[in-house]
Symmetry: C2
Subunit: 282 residues, 2 copies
DNA sequence: TCTCGGCCTTCCATGAGGTGGAACTCCGCC
DNA sequence: GGCGGAGTTCCACCTCATGGAAGGCCGAGA
């Protein structure tokens, strides 16, 4: 299916050398780079080919990565990403701050409005899902925890872009903007207008930008500095009985609850102990 | 607080050289190793000191890792783990298979019995949480997504150990077994008896093994080969009105539902399309 | 204002150690 | 039995990672 939608590299193409080839560290990273959604399990030779390394080098690097726990070895000898990477990834600070408090709120939201729920942050020119809840009934939406999507094509992305530093907006709008459906907005001028609209209304609304038959509504989640640090969105069936107006109150309420839990000053009174940002112990 | 409970290295101490020192790849990994729950944000110099590298080497390696996205740079110049690592970690196959289907079931379970819910898999001699839901009211329990704990001290760990290859059991019982409370069982002979009990009854029950005032009940989640691939547990207040007997039916039901969703043969009829193991698109 | 210390960055000569070709084994398949 | 592909080990060459040194920056303290 859609192959190239996940950007291969988050940096200008000609800088690929930075990570790809020359250096030893680059070679290590290129081994890790080899794994993606469509290549979850690879043989040693496949890793070597995809990473552009000789077999003996691959053998040694993969051995070290396996020893460390970055790669797992399956019974059939193939390699996959190891749990050690997942473990390390959960140390990502935004993850830590939101992940412990978010699930309960998101579950509430989902049970209130039967829709897909996404919690995302911005990473460079992409949006990354911290949490995504699929609705149990009805049509699922294309997404995945940790999944990476262009900012301009997602409701959360547009919210995060609207409140991002101006430099980021310029960079994103100057770069080639991927089109997913005929309704994906890729015109920089139109996007600028939409972003201003998002800033004015405090919400974003995208129709069939990635998936035909679905539309999404997004709102910001504000952090301790009152700056939008994440975004929350609902994805609903296009043309169905439920419109943005129906879900906006619940969406806003959940976003505010999350903001409060994370310690946003504009949402009065953090609920629990304020010192540590992760709940501990009994 | 408890510092050394997360094992520094998952491999014999004298093999630290494998990852720690000599090789270039080892140096890269040692930089990543520097981050843990108590060291989420570090300066370049701190990274260098903790990794045992000179500043110039650290500078170059951190620069490459940052360029790749493995490390993030905060406004104040310090470094943290980057979202790219989280993204990569979610490719871990067990993660992928369970994470998309699990949340809904776990949320149901949690709303049925107001307790902490954990979904874990075994990684070497440890248990790693794939998913953990904190109960909203009442005493939380010490845990974290991606958190790593000894097998013998957790309910899910005991289930996973009980159904692990005999070699693993021998290794674990031969290694030093960490004690968290006076009720943590660390006697290999007693543990062997308990493991047999777990195999016989299909459930584990641990009382105050890590946290005083809490007990946990665990059951296996079976995968496509009908082999336990994960474990599900509930953590409850010790001495409270709710005992293991009260929650076992719900716990078993959820575990079976998960097994079915993942395609266990003993649970009839997978619910959806069986080909791909991750739900896609609308 | 000047000094000191800590942190970050850049540069470069040296030699440690990463690299990749070759040789070998172990499959499964024709 | 022969063949092709995958994985593993070994080793001589020479790349390229290393770490010392030097310089810039900032904040604290005198």
């Amino acid at each position: 299916m859609v192959e190239d939608m996940v950007p291969a590299s988050r940096f200008p193409a000609d800088l690929t050398a930075t990570t790809g080839q020359r250096t030893a560290a680059g070679r290590v990273l290129s081994v890790l780079d080899v794994f993606d959604e469509d290549h979850l399990e690879l043989t040693l030779s496949e890793i070597g080919r995809r990473a552009g390394l000789t077999l003996s080098t691959t053998h040694r690097l993969v051995g070290e990565l396996h020893g460390w726990g970055a790669l797992e070895r399956l019974p059939d000898g193939r390699y996959t990403v190891g749990l050690r990477v997942l473990e390390l990834g959960t140390l990502e600070p935004q993850m830590l701050q939101l992940r412990d408090v978010a699930p309960a709120y998101l579950a509430d939201l989902q049970s209130a409005v039967d829709a897909n729920v996404h919690l995302s942050v911005r990473d460079g020119h992409d949006v990354v899902y911290l949490e995504s809840l699929q609705r149990r009934s009805g049509a699922p939406v294309l997404s995945r925890l940790g999944g990476r999507w262009p900012l301009h094509a997602t409701a959360t992305g547009m919210v995060l872009l609207a409140f991002a530093p101006p430099g980021v907006v310029d960079e994103v709008l100057a770069s080639p903007l991927q089109r997913f459906t005929e309704r994906t907005v890729t015109d920089p001028l139109v996007l600028r207008r939409l972003l201003a609209e998002v800033r004015r209304t405090g919400m974003s609304e995208l129709h069939e930008a990635i998936t035909l038959g679905a539309f999404a509504v997004g709102v910001p989640v504000r952090g301790p500095l009152d700056r939008p640090m994440a975004a929350l969105s609902l994805t609903l069936k296009q043309g169905g009985p439920v419109t943005a107006h129906h879900v906006l109150p619940a969406l806003h309420a959940t976003a505010r609850a999350l903001s409060r839990a994370v310690g946003s000053p504009s949402e009065p009174g953090p609920p629990a102990a304020s010192g540590s940002h992760r709940p501990r112990l009994a």
